[in-house]
């Protein structure tokens, strides 16, 4: 196997992907006393060339190591980075290769790569449930970490209106509306209902007692009383 330098890798991507290649960055740092290089590459490609890019990475080393997919909410778009490790097994020749894609918020879809790298399944499942990016063709689309009763349409890593904001308990630095304070404490999902239109359908189906049952009222009332008279709390 021939080991290419980061510059050569970038050039080969540029040549193969053409106009779908957007940008690249090479990071190098001298480490410790002998000043050997730590190297990382970031390659930005368009979505239509995504699978072709993964194919190219597989040509650099058979069975490239996909460490994880990270995703960031950038406002209008979601950035996915596929973190690969290539040239493992060769002393100090290893490279971190981040394959970066930007998906518009109104079309959050990415094809699966589990046919090329079977071990991508966990991280694809996680990206799907946490960021709400649909992985097209995923062989197992169940949730990975989130519980089964977690409401649909809430994505913990989002920073927009689909984020978990109104499911949060009061934390230092988190501003919670004073009128929903009690509901924030009583049931994590109850306050979603007070917002109205967002997720009542699913909540009503799964947890009717949370949405309109008497229990949640009594729990809220009790908490209000407690917060007014803290001295009597037992």
């Amino acid at each position: 196997m021939e080991i290419l330098s980061p510059e050569e890798i970038v050039e080969s991507f540029k040549a193969a992907l053409g106009s779908s290649f957007i940008d690249s960055k090479i990071y190098q740092r001298e480490v410790a006393v002998k000043k050997n290089l730590f190297q990382a590459i970031w390659i930005y490609v368009k979505r239509d060339a995504f699978r072709q890019a993964v194919d190219l990475i597989s040509k650099l080393q058979e069975y490239p190591h996909l460490s994880i997919i990270s995703s960031s909410d950038l406002g209008d778009s979601v950035e996915l980075i596929y973190h690969f490790a290539i040239y493992y097994g060769h002393h100090l020749k290893g490279l971190s290769l981040g394959l970066c894609l930007s998906l518009p918020k109104n079309d959050l879809k990415i094809p699966t790569i589990t046919d090329l790298i079977p071990g991508a399944i966990f991280t694809e499942r996680e990206t799907q449930e946490m960021m709400g990016v649909e992985v097209v063709g995923i062989p197992d689309d169940r949730r990975l970490f989130l519980p089964e009763d977690f409401p649909e349409g809430v994505y913990p890593w989002r920073k927009d209106e689909t984020g978990p904001e109104d499911m949060l308990k009061v934390l230092p630095g988190h501003s919670c509306h004073s009128d929903s304070f009690a509901s924030c404490h009583s049931e994590p999902f109850a306050s979603c209902h007070s917002e109205g239109e967002k997720r009542p359908k699913n909540l009503a189906q799964d947890n009717p007692e949370l949405v309109s049952g008497e229990e949640s009222h009594t729990a809220q009332d009790r908490l209000r009383e407690e917060s007014q008279e803290p001295g009597e709390k037992k």
């Binding site: 996909l66 995703s71 890593w157």
Partner: protein, 417 residues
Amino acid sequence: MKNKEMETTYTIPVGPIHPALKEPIRLDLKVDGEEIIDVDVAMGQVHRGIEWLGMNRNNPIQNIYLAERVCGICNICHPFAYIMAVEQAAGITPPERAEYIRVVIAEMERIHSHLLWAGVAAHEIGFDSVFYLVWRVREKIMDLIEYVTGNRVTKAMFQIGGVRRDITEEQFPQIRKTLDYYKTIFKQLKTVFLDDRTIRMRTKNVGVLKTEDALKLLACGPTGRASGVTKDVRQDQAYGAYADLDIKAITPDIITGTIVGDVYDRIIVRLLEVKQSIEIIEHCLDEMPPGATLIEPKMAKLLKTLKTAEGKGVGRAEAPRGEVIHYVRLEAGRETLATWKIRAPTYLNLMSIPTILKGGQIADVPIVFASIDPCMSCTNRAVVIDRKTNKKSIMTYEKLHQLSVEKTRRLSNGLVE
């Protein structure tokens, strides 16, 4: 159809809590008699939203201590990977001496983690005398960790741009003394784990993960190396003082000449890595460069630098269980991290669990599952569901453990006859 009716396949959920291992997980085992036909893994019982806290509540320095608490055992490699990611994103270079101190601490962690695992593995097959022996031996390295860092568990050694405490010349003799102790008992440990008949019987050709499967399922750390995947971040990428050393990924063929990828091979890899860690620490003590240990001791100033920095960084470190990766994105003007993604090694190794358990026996579940050294707890209670009658019965961890112990006894008695 007639066959279908006769078929007695059971689904045994194993988990989610067991105090001997560290975090909860549930395994759904589909069994036919004693044989395991299919396995499904259910995670998420302890998803604590640590990344969310780092992106919404904490500043990057507070995150170091949060990263330490991702795992009680790997509390060096998580902050190690995290600070490398932040340093890369913010363009900070730590002093040379700090790189060496980081590696010394990380290798001490590896020794204690591998010994802890060896004890747990012995316990899982009912070999408790070895469990006591190994955990007694492990106390020496725990004492050393406390001596060097001030703490047994969360060491709080790391800081962005260096380390928080120096290792002084006066401490060197004590460190060398402990390492010498391990060198003297290494041969004994090797005999106990590699030559003992009981351990060989329970671990040889059990829980096999073939090289190709390991590559496809992205197995990392000792689990991958035992299957012949020569992947070790310390060898592959220049980070810390490892960049100055000539580190070679350890595979079981060093001792046996072949790679099987079974539980026995995983024992070999971890055992040899203890020796490797001793050598790395000794080398670091010999070659430790003089100088400062922290590039910016004033935290307020460091925080300001981080607040104005913009960029992304990825940090990889070789934990006792495999590769840990942290990805960090900084936005100028933002107090917290813009993005933080953590991936611990067990995340990848769990994908191999169905492959290595399939075809095995229920009594082998504890040792095989423990052999990937999962940073998760399991096997406390198991519900056995009879598909025909839909009747549930509870199988406790103790029962499962009992099955494992009985199997060891059976095999030993068979040998005696």
